[in-house]
Assembly symmetry: C2
């Protein structure tokens, strides 16, 4: 998606350790107009499949999923990263390692909000090693829902997550795929 | 706001310990159409003030703020609950006690995304004791930004948060104010 690639080039910052900072428009300060364009693009890409539920994970996937949901006739469910006292005991659960924070979280979704009747699109901001997605996919499978596809804003194409997910036979649509990036020069090369 | 009150009556569950579960439409599964109506209502209520930034806090405020932002010409910034390695050292910080989780978090906002030029509307899902709001207000004041008001989805009117915030002279617009609720009967009484 040209608009997102241009925005990453303009406002993204490449840091040492394969870190791409997009916190001025994607995951701390958020440009909701851009999210609307991303939502339209996912709708175009997934126009031929039925989707009634969008699943994401806190925190930075939530706004993107919520805005994108407006282009589908879908409710949004976000997986929570720790057990809240407000949740019933009846949850789907997966362990997820965070690339950014370097820790392992329990990720949970209430069984009330995901079941065999659901046609699910997973949406998240980043795909790197794919740990968060693997957790969400496990939860979708456990619930008996149908996974219709995954929409990612930025995929780090030089890490293994995208390949892993596509090899599972899951349809994955990343709006920007970074083939390589260089912290010294700031250069970003997009793929596909 | 009638629509929200009716929805709380229909789908909200009153639990022991002053807990109101609205996780089927507000803070786990999310009804984005409802959030759009809430956004319109806040726009109506704050139509006479300039707002260029909406500040919220992860996780359950994010979707509401993102959808509401579409009715303002505003970017959204969400305060993060723990220090991410992806953030620069340069942050505003506040300590916030969580009613739901019973712990204290460091809440941070990058200094890049809040400053004296900003006219801020704070949006969050719940107001009970007001701890999260106090943290966000402290951050807005520290940044030199102008706090134009606060929009809350559900205020627990029988707890002290609303009074505390209004006594600070901050304009607070809660879309539903619960005067009392009873876990045994499930009855909810709305105020104002």
């Amino acid at each position: 998606m040209k608009l997102l690639e241009e925005r990453i080039r303009k406002d993204g910052l490449v840091k040492e350790g394969n870190v791409l900072k997009v916190d001025s428009f994607l995951n701390h300060q958020m440009d909701i107009e851009l999210f609307n364009e991303m939502g339209k693009e996912w709708k175009r890409l997934f126009s031929n499949v039925e989707i009634n539920k969008i699943l994401t994970i806190e925190a930075s996937g939530i706004a993107i999923a919520a805005v994108a949901a407006q282009y589908f006739d879908a409710k949004v469910v976000f997986a929570k990263k720790s057990k809240s006292v407000n949740l019933d005991g009846s949850v789907y659960q997966a362990k997820v390692q965070s690339f950014t924070h370097g820790n392992v979280s329990d990720v949970i979704v209430s069984k009330k909000f995901l079941g065999p009747e659901d046609k699910v699109l997973i949406i998240d901001d980043f795909l790197a090693r794919g740990c968060a997605l693997e957790g969400l996919i496990k939860i979708v499978h456990e619930s008996g829902a149908t996974l219709q596809g995954i929409g990612i804003a930025i995929e780090k194409g030089f890490q293994e997550g995208g390949k892993k997910i596509r090899n599972m036979g899951v349809r994955l649509e990343s709006l920007a795929i970074i083939e390589s990036m260089d912290a010294a020069s700031g250069e970003i090369v997009f793929g596909k």
